[in-house]
Amino acid sequence: MKVESKEPLFRISKRGAMARGKAWGIRLIAVALSLVVCAFIIFAIVKMNPLKVYGAMFEGAFSTSKRTWVTIRDTMMLLCIAVGLAPAFKMKFWNIGAEGQILMGGIAAAACMIYIGNKLPLVPMLLVMAICSLIAGGIWGLIPGLFKAKWNTNETLFTLMMNYIAIQITSFFVAKWENPFGSNTVGIINARNQAGWFPSLFGQAYALNVIIVMLLAVGMYLYLNYSKQGYEIAVVGESENTARYAAIDVKKVIVRTMGISGALCGIAGFIAVAGASHTISTSTAGGRGFTAIIVCWLAKFNSFVMVLIAALLVFFEKGAIEIASRYNLNDYVSNMITGIILFFILGSEFFINYKVKIRGSKEETK
């Protein structure tokens, strides 16, 4: 009797839990495969040796000590924002307002540098700046948190709109602090006496950035995984009903967590101004408040995985700029490469969670 076969070509079924080592193996294979695919695309479109392009990207990020440190600095910046976003996103509070929180923190730091730059010794000066940035960013996070808790407003729209307000406020201060007059920029603040700049530690200009951000990252890891407040965040993020059942004050947790999230993004603004650019402009955040969301989610809020992902993204960015300038390519090429690699990494999660069986294969693997 002829069987009317209608079995589909692919069959997808869920896997049980996969060993951690194997999962990371699959992710590495995904990255390797993505590089192969990129190689073909590079060759097909720009007719260049893909290995040379990869080499150039690597050199863009790491060829000199200065470049390496810039890569590290930018990684730390991205990581700092991601660490700040982690508690909010773990609570399933869609804080897409990091841009605004960074800018507010940056303005607070810049204001300190301009108005009290010469009046305090370096260490108290930095402390005052950090606290001001923390408060400024914290307020910018608290506002949507309060509205969410009180009136259940939509945090996605709210935080997004707060970004535009922050950009306008920044424009106002840029105009106010304009230097030199007519340039429409603030210029390097305290260029002569470097008041309020991060000092060099161990001979490295950006060592302090690394120390602060790594401390925050470790602190956030402990906070989210071991503290009572971290536990509350996890429960609220999973289900508000469960949280109320467990007698958790949901409103308080939302407000507090958004305050913390905003404050840490404010610290990122402080680092961007005092530890990197020494100026403030509407592009101080530069879209990193959004990129950090990817870092945060890909790492599933684990600080240590965030370091890796932030480094990867910054590496691609630096590489992109390098190949764009060296080969006179449009930097869309490197955006394509970044896109393809991210696609593969995200796609690998599918293969980690599901298995695919092709029609006709009679395997019985366990």
């Binding site: 069987v3 589909p8 079924s13 503290s227 289900s239 469960t242 007698a247």
Partner: protein, 515 residues
């Protein structure tokens, strides 16, 4: 082809289906005869629904063959199943609430011509008349009761010309009267030559309605037996794999004391509709108070109000007295945080286990500390005590788990429930509230839960048991409070009340005087 084989509507041969490492069906062979009612029996996770889903085109078997009317077939989608005249009525209805009955029936039929709802209605009426259904073709689904929706699902399947009907736990949501009506219809369909498979946990229903019983255990086919040749005890033994006592203990209440005195409790929902209307009763320590009612009669609101999760209207009063004290405290107007602060030890096993009682993505130890994580001064959570408690619960209640650190979501419903009940009992409560504590659980686990509740009762705890199975309520509870549309329609003695009496109270109001 022999006469015997043509008598078989469906043959499933060596069907295997795995999900990840879980083998849901292992080389299962099942025959469905023409014109019979077959009960498919098995504990939770024994693979009943999975097996039937493969017949109705939801899943594809990993291996094995399916024959319909003697021809080998491959059923890759519900449409294939319908073409083979197989229809399944799922446990969770698949209806569009804003459409009418007739519209739901023709939905998805993909007819190539204009649909005339009048002819549809006429055909629906014809089907109804033939089998004794009542369906109003132009009634919107959101206006329908659970029983009406279920009838509609059956008519929908018949409209598509199904000869083989699969009903997945159809009686779970019905009152005894509605169940009887359903059984009458099933008998009519059988008389018309249809084959019916009914999945159920309730043994007395199996005995009443089916011609033959097939039993699955842990994905294996155990065997089949003609219903007239068997009894509930034998079926249970086949299902569980060993002898199980089917009697529920009911120790006499001792040292009764008032634990919770509820007076005029009124709760409105977000639309201002009364979900509870002046409910008054007393729960005593040392007894089990059953709460019966059609689903949605206010059971959920009642328990949540006592747990501080519902806003109660002014005038409501809930006086709680702890086990060792005689000081009563007022719970009305307090939220869950206030109640916790007052030191009220009320344990609550909510209906929505993963959406309220537990955090699905967390491990067992992390779930153990859900109610107690805040104890102590440290800003960090105590990890040791919950871990010890988790180990204890897993051992004492025989929780099957892939490991303590696995998220509870990965476990089966029965094991999830054991973790939840285990945690609530470990808190040494004075008042224990359970909502549908055994819903979806197999016999074995259900009896474990009954036993635990009885243990609590003996220790002087006031147990409130919201249930849907009247037989269990009547065997387990000392008193049964019946809710109907948010009002108390009666409080009866569990030892003397009749099932029909409770069933009537569930559907009719205004009989308080008799109770």
């Amino acid at each position: 082809m022999s006469q015997l084989e043509t008598n078989k509507a469906v043959q499933m041969v060596n069907i295997t289906k795995t999900f990840g490492s879980l083998v849901a069906n292992d080389k299962v062979c099942l025959d469905i005869h023409k014109g019979e009612i077959l009960s498919l029996l098995g504990e939770n996770g024994s693979g009943k629904t999975t097996l039937m889903n493969m017949l109705s085109g939801i899943y594809l078997p990993d291996s094995g063959q399916i024959f319909v009317d003697g021809k080998e077939v491959s059923i890759a989608s519900p449409r294939d199943a319908f073409n083979l005249r197989i229809g399944m009525i799922h446990q969770h209805f698949k209806l569009v609430p804003v459409l009418t009955a007739a519209e739901n029936i023709i939905l998805g039929l993909n007819e190539n011509r204009l649909v005339d709802l009048k002819t549809v209605a006429a055909r629906v009426k014809e089907i109804c008349d033939r089998y004794g259904f009542v369906v109003e073709p132009y009634k919107k689904v959101y206006d329908m009761s659970v029983s009406e929706k279920q009838t509609l699902e059956i008519v929908k399947v018949l409209y598509r010309g199904a000869d083989i009907l699969i009903l997945d736990e159809p009686t779970a949501v019905l009152t005894p009267q509605e169940t009887n009506m359903l059984f009458d219809v099933m008998r009519n369909m059988k008389a018309d030559g249809k084959s019916i498979v009914i999945i159920t946990h309730k043994l007395h229903e199996v005995m009443e309605i089916s011609d033959r019983v097939a039993v699955l255990r842990k994905g294996h086919y155990i065997g089949d037996i003609a219903t007239c040749d068997t009894n509930p005890q034998q079926l249970t033994d086949m299902m569980v794999g060993r002898a199980v006592s089917l009697n529920i203990d009911r120790p006499e209440p001792e040292n009764i004391r008032e634990c919770l005195v509820v007076k005029d409790l009124t709760v409105l929902d977000v639309d201002g509709v009364k979900k509870l209307d002046k409910v008054s009763f007393t729960a005593y320590g040392g007894e089990i108070l059953g709460i019966a009612g059609i689903s949605g009669s206010g059971q959920k609101e009642l328990l949540e109000a006592i747990a501080g999760l519902q806003i109660v209207e002014p005038g409501s009063s809930m006086m709680y007295t702890a086990k060792e004290s005689d000081k009563a405290v007022e719970l009305a107007g307090c939220n869950s945080m206030d109640i916790k602060k007052m030191g009220v030890r009320s344990a609550f096993v909510p209906e929505d286990r993963l959406g309220m009682g537990l955090v699905g993505s967390m491990s067992i130890p992390d779930n153990m500390m859900l109610r107690t994580y805040g104890n102590g001064r440290s800003i960090f959570t105590d990890r040791k005590a919950p871990k010890g408690m988790a180990e204890k619960v897993v051992e004492e209640l025989q929780v099957m788990t892939p490991g303590l650190s696995a998220p509870v979501r990965r476990m089966s419903g029965g094991n999830i429930q054991k973790v939840l009940v285990g945690r609530e009992i470990a808190a040494n409560p004075s008042l224990l509230m359970t909502a549908y504590a055994v819903r979806g659980l197999d016999i074995n686990t259900s009896y474990t839960i009954y036993h635990l509740l009885n243990e609590q009762k003996k220790q002087g705890v006031a147990v409130m048991y919201v249930g849907e199975d009247l037989d269990v309520l009547l065997e387990l509870c000392d008193r049964i409070l019946v809710l109907c549309a948010g009002k108390v329609s009666g409080i009866v003695d569990g030892r003397t009340a009749k099932k029909e009496e409770v069933g009537l109270l569930m559907t009719h109001l205004g009989q308080e005087a008799e109770a």
